[in-house]
C-alpha cells in the first residue's frame, strides 16, 4: 500500500514540530525516518497513524484520504517504543487483542484466532510463550510480542517508533534482521523512526532525514551518504 504525506503542518503551542512535510512512499518500501530528537520524526509517524492530528495537510493510503479517519480504521500496525503491552494479559491475549475486539460479524472463530496467534509466535520466534505475562519477558522478547500483536490483523502498513531503543546491541541486531525478514515475507509497507543512522542505513530501502520539522533529504542510503543534500545532513552523518 502506498503512503502519501502531503504538506503536513503541526505545531505544539508556539513550537513548530512539522513544517510543510511531504513524502511519497512506494508500496512495499521499508522507510526510515531519521533525525535528532526534536526533529519531528515521531510526530510525523503518529500523524500517519492517526494518534495525532495535523493542523493542515493530508495523509493518503493507496490514494485514499485517511486524514480524518480514526486510528482504529486505518488498517495499520503500530509498535511503540516502550512496547505498550497490556500488562494484565498473557502474551496470547495481547497478540489476539486486535482480533478479539472485532465486531461480531467480522471476528474470526476462536480456533482460527488461536491458530493465528501460534502462527505469529512462530514468526517472531517465540513459540510456546503464549501463557506468559509481559513482566516475565526480557526486553527483546517483549518487543517481539509487540510486533506479533501489531501484525495480527494483517495490516498493510507497519509503523514502528524507535523499536529497538531500549535494547542492547546484540538483541538489536537480531531483531533488526528478524524485522527485515518479516517485512519482506509478509509484504508490508513499513516506516520506522530512529535516531541511529547505522540502523537506518542497514534496514531501510529509503531514508528520510528530518531536521527541525523539515525533510532535509529522502533517498536511498547510498545516495544520502554519497550526495548529502545539505550541511545539516552532512553534520548529522558525522
Amino acid at each position: 500500500m502506498t503512503i502519501t504525506v502531503r504538506n503536513i503542518v503541526k505545531g505544539f503551542g508556539n513550537y513548530p514540530a512539522l513544517r510543510d512535510v511531504s513524502l511519497d512512499i512506494e508500496d512495499g518500501a521499508f522507510v526510515a525516518l531519521l533525525g535528532p530528537s526534536g526533529s519531528g520524526k515521531t510526530t510525523l509517524l503518529r500523524i500517519i497513524a492517526g494518534l495525532e492530528s495535523a493542523e493542515s495537510g493530508q495523509i493518503l493510503f493507496a490514494g485514499e484520504d485517511v486524514t480524518m479517519r480514526a486510528p482504529q480504521d486505518r488498517g495499520i500496525g503500530f509498535v511503540f517504543q516502550n512496547y505498550a503491552l497490556f500488562r494484565h494479559m498473557t502474551v496470547e491475549h495481547n497478540i489476539a487483542f486486535g482480533l478479539d475486539v472485532m465486531k461480531r460479524g467480522q471476528r474470526p472463530p476462536k480456533d482460527a484466532i488461536r491458530a493465528r496467534v501460534e502462527e505469529l509466535l512462530e514468526l517472531v520466534q517465540l513459540p510456546g510463550y503464549g501463557k506468559r505475562y509481559p513482566a516475565q519477558l526480557s526486553g527483546g522478547q517483549r518487543q517481539r510480542v509487540a510486533l506479533a500483536r501489531a501484525l495480527a490483523r494483517e495490516p498493510s502498513i507497519l509503523l514502528l517508533d524507535e523499536p529497538f531503543g531500549a535494547l542492547d546491541a546484540k538483541v538489536r541486531r537480531e531483531l533488526r534482521d528478524a524485522l527485515r525478514e518479516i517485512h519482506d515475507r509478509v509484504g508490508l509497507t513499513s516506516i520506522f523512526v530512529t535516531h541511529d543512522y547505522e540502523e537506518a542505513f542497514a534496514l531501510a530501502d529509503k531514508v528520510a532525514i528530518l531536521g527541525q520539522g523539515r525533510i532535509e533529504q529522502f533517498d536511498t542510503p547510498d545516495a544520502v551518504q554519497q550526495h548529502p543534500a545539505s550541511d545539516f545532513v552532512r553534520e548529522f552523518l558525522d
Partner: protein
C-alpha cells in the same frame, strides 16, 4: 535493630525514647478514644448492647446509613472514573482547573456544605416553592441526605485514580486504539484492569466517609427520628438524651466499620501498593 553506622543514626536510648514518645502520642490521641468506644458500649453488658442495636430507631438509622452509602458511593465512583479518564487520557484547556475543582469539597466545612443545599432546596431556597408545589422533598428528607453525602465524598475516587492513571500513561490505550478497539472496550479491557486496586481503595475511602458523615447531613436532615437520622446523627441524639450506653452501642458499630476499613486499606497498600496512587490524601 540492625547495626548501623553510628554516625548516621541515633543512640539506642534516643531511639527508644523517640519511639516511646510517638507511641504515647498516638496512644493518647487515637487509641484511648477508640478503646473507650467499645468499653462504654459494653459497660452494661452484651444484653444491653444488643437491645440498643435492635431498637427501632437504631435499626432505621442503620438502614438509612446503608441506603445512603449504597446510592452515593456508586455515583461518585462512576463520576470519579469518568473525570479521571477525561483528565488523564486527554489534553484540553482547563484541565488543571478541573483538577483543582475536584479538590474543593475537601476545603468546605461539612456544615457549610449542608447549608448550601438548604439554600437550594429548603423551603426558602431557590427551588423551595417549585419543590413544594410538586410535593417533592429534598431538604429534611432522604434525597437531601444523599446530596450532602455526595458532595463531601466527591473527591476520593477521582483523587486516587488521577495520579495513578497519570503514572500509567496512555500507551496501552493507544496501542489498543491502533488494534481497532472501540472506546468502551479500551476502557473495560485495558484501563479498568490496570486501575482496579486504586478504584477499590478510592471506593473504600468514599464508603467510610459516606457512612460516617455528620456535619453536612446534620444540617440538611432536620433530625426527624426514625426517618432522617443516619447512624452518626442517631449517636448524637442518644448522647444528648444522656442515653450514653445506647449512643456508644451505635457508635461502636461505626467504629467497627472504621476498623474494617483500616484493615482492608492496609491490606491493599501492602499487597498492591504499586498499583495505588503515590501519596495520600
Amino acid at each position: 535493630m540492625s547495626a548501623k553506622n553510628k554516625a548516621v543514626s541515633e543512640s539506642l536510648l534516643t531511639k527508644a525514647l523517640l519511639i516511646l514518645a510517638a507511641v504515647t502520642y498516638v496512644g493518647l490521641i487515637l487509641v484511648l478514644p477508640l478503646a473507650s468506644v467499645f468499653s462504654e458500649a459494653f459497660r452494661h453488658g452484651t444484653a444491653a448492647f444488643k437491645a440498643a442495636i435492635v431498637e427501632p430507631d437504631a435499626l432505621a438509622a442503620i438502614k438509612l446509613t446503608l441506603t445512603v452509602a449504597a446510592i452515593s458511593v456508586p455515583i461518585n465512583a462512576v463520576c470519579g472514573v469518568a473525570a479521571a479518564w477525561a483528565i488523564t487520557k486527554h489534553d484540553f484547556p482547563g484541565r488543571n482547573l478541573l483538577i483543582s475543582l475536584i479538590d474543593v469539597p475537601f476545603s468546605i466545612s461539612p456544615v457549610v456544605a449542608g447549608l448550601m443545599y438548604l439554600l437550594l432546596f429548603g423551603a426558602q431556597g431557590w427551588f423551595g416553592e417549585w419543590l413544594l408545589a410538586h410535593d417533592i422533598h429534598i431538604a429534611f428528607a432522604k434525597p437531601g441526605i444523599v446530596l450532602a453525602t455526595l458532595i463531601v465524598t466527591l473527591p476520593f475516587v477521582a483523587r486516587e485514580l488521577i495520579p495513578l492513571m497519570q503514572a500509567q500513561g496512555r500507551e496501552e490505550e493507544e496501542a489498543a486504539l491502533t488494534l481497532g478497539a472501540p472506546g468502551w472496550r479500551i476502557f473495560l479491557w485495558v484501563t479498568l484492569p490496570n486501575i482496579r486496586w486504586g478504584l477499590l481503595y478510592g471506593v473504600l475511602l468514599t464508603n467510610a466517609r459516606a457512612m460516617g458523615e455528620f456535619g453536612a447531613v446534620s444540617v440538611i436532615s432536620g433530625h426527624i427520628r426514625g426517618e432522617t437520622d443516619t447512624m452518626p446523627l442517631q449517636v448524637e441524639v442518644l448522647y444528648n438524651e444522656y442515653n450514653f450506653a445506647a449512643a456508644f452501642a451505635v457508635a461502636s458499630l461505626l467504629a467497627g466499620l472504621a476498623l474494617v476499613t483500616l484493615v482492608v486499606k492496609t491490606l491493599l497498600e501492602w499487597r498492591h501498593g504499586d498499583q495505588l496512587a503515590a501519596a495520600g490524601h
